[in-house]
């Protein structure tokens, strides 16, 4: 199960990692988007919990409202917990005309979840994204920055998922 975001604990270990990310970005507040993306990658559920947003706001320093403006504006950032392996389905026209509906159906079927829910073990979520620039591999999914495609049979989808078990 995914823990409630309000119960997220900011450990010393994570603080060190965040400090390192801030150092890499020269504590430059204009790099907030890059900072948030890197921090999100460090958190197993790939999101920005409230305490973390507060911590970054204090450390940079930057107004909390600016941080939340970014988190809610940009699709790549999330304020809600996701799976450890968020499956992003490309929903661009190039993927749609190559039957990404099938892919979506196969994923829902194999995982037993819909959009916005997480598998019971906290491993997967299914998300639609506009386009991640892999139209030559349509229909494609992207899991933790790696693009997989073209995925045309249920068997291919199953063996892809098995890599993460």
């Amino acid at each position: 199960m995914i823990e409630d975001s309000s119960k997220f604990e900011l450990t010393d270990e994570l603080k060190i990692k965040i400090d390192k990310i801030l150092d890499d970005h020269h504590h430059d507040f204009t790099q907030i988007v890059g900072v948030l993306i890197d921090v999100q990658d460090e958190i197993p559920q790939h999101y920005i919990p409230k305490v973390v947003a507060f911590y970054i706001a204090e450390k940079l320093p930057l107004k909390l409202s600016v941080i939340y403006d970014c988190i809610t504006f940009y699709d790549a950032l999330s304020e809600k917990p996701r799976g450890r392996y968020p499956i992003e389905i490309c929903d661009s026209i190039a993927c749609k005309v190559n039957n990404n509906e099938f892919l979506l159906g196969a994923l829902k079927d194999l995982l037993g979840i819909d959009f916005g829910t997480v598998t019971y073990d906290g491993r997967f979520t299914i998300e639609k994204v506009s386009c991640f620039g892999a139209c030559d591999r349509a229909p494609a999914v992207r899991i933790n920055k790696i693009v997989y495609g073209p995925l045309k049979t249920k068997e291919q989808v199953r063996s892809l998922l098995e890599q993460f078990v």
Partner: protein, 418 residues
Amino acid sequence: MQNISYLTENFGKYDVFSIDSYINIGGFQSLRKAVTMDGDDIATILSDAKIKGRGGAEYPMGRKWSQARAVKRPHHCVVCNADEGETCTFKDRELITNDSFNLIEAMIIAGWAVNAEDGYIYMRAEYSHLRPRILNAIKQAEDRGFLGKNILGTNWNYKIHLYSGAGAYVCGEGTALIRSIEGKAGRPRMKPPFMKQSGLFTRPTCINNVESLSLVPHLLRDSTPYLQVGTKESTGTKLVSVGGNVNKPGVYEIAFGTTVREIIYGLAGGIQGNRKIRLIQFGGASGKISDARILDIPYSYEAFAANNLIIGSGSVLVIDERTSVIDFLRYTQDFFLHESCGQCTPCREGNRHIRIFLEKIKNGTYTDEDIQTMKTFAKVMPMSSLCGLGETAQNALKSAFNIFPEVFASRKQTEAVG
């Protein structure tokens, strides 16, 4: 059909993680040449090659550079737009993957030409796996004195910074892009002030697409092969990203003047299952559409303009008969509805309402009045929207009115159900 590789000449020729292997194939020769030249002369070379911005706006690049030079305010900067978000466009990904040092060299030449102090590369988050090769290229160029202080003994200082986007299509628009680099949400703003006067951090800014920039070192090295191909108005070569229902989707370099048929049936291997073409969209989601009637026109700016099409970002999205026109329009509309930043009313509400009308057409529950209203909205949106997104969002729909009038055929008001 002749194979051409001018812009893609370096692909696979060197190790993209090693500056030495890039120098061995003649890398940074163009920069050495550039620093002996005046910026206006460099801009003239671009004007002679008739390069139009390759991101989609098609603004003449030579003119852009000489205008940027002419701005007297201090602290110029150069921005490379690597946020290609147009559907079915992935040429910049190939350029960064296979030729990242060339891009860095181009950024330095651009900096020299417009007398900039800083260069910024804004790359979409979806390409974050390419960050290491750009950062490595910047680092190695710094170590060799191509970047940093007193570059090649010219007393000129220049740095390149890499910024990441976060999955917003609208950030490909210049003013939204600079806001994103400034560490804000990427909402576009009104122009003027124009970028060249007051852009990033209110500094004079010159924004170029990855493909436009990547051409510069090649042109400085030897522009003859480029000038020899193409058509009268469209000189040289272009990268096209072909996708959709074709057998071999991918990025291909073509000489301007190649016919659309050669691109789709020659390079991209024809249509899956030998089906018929329903429609072709050029220039990404904001581009215009046509059907098989344009297969034999040459791929060039002038021929496309004559046929009410645009080259735009250079994408060719081919859709076969399995997808209906109305479904295609609904998908496009979904995309813009999702990507509209919601700041200005015409774009936010226009996209939403046109989506509803399209749904009605799909279900057969529309009235003639709906069609009229939809046409009015499609006309008003480009006139009244704040930025390029709202201005171009209805390009596909507007060209569909001409090409596929039967989809919007009139019907009796009384038949309406809801």
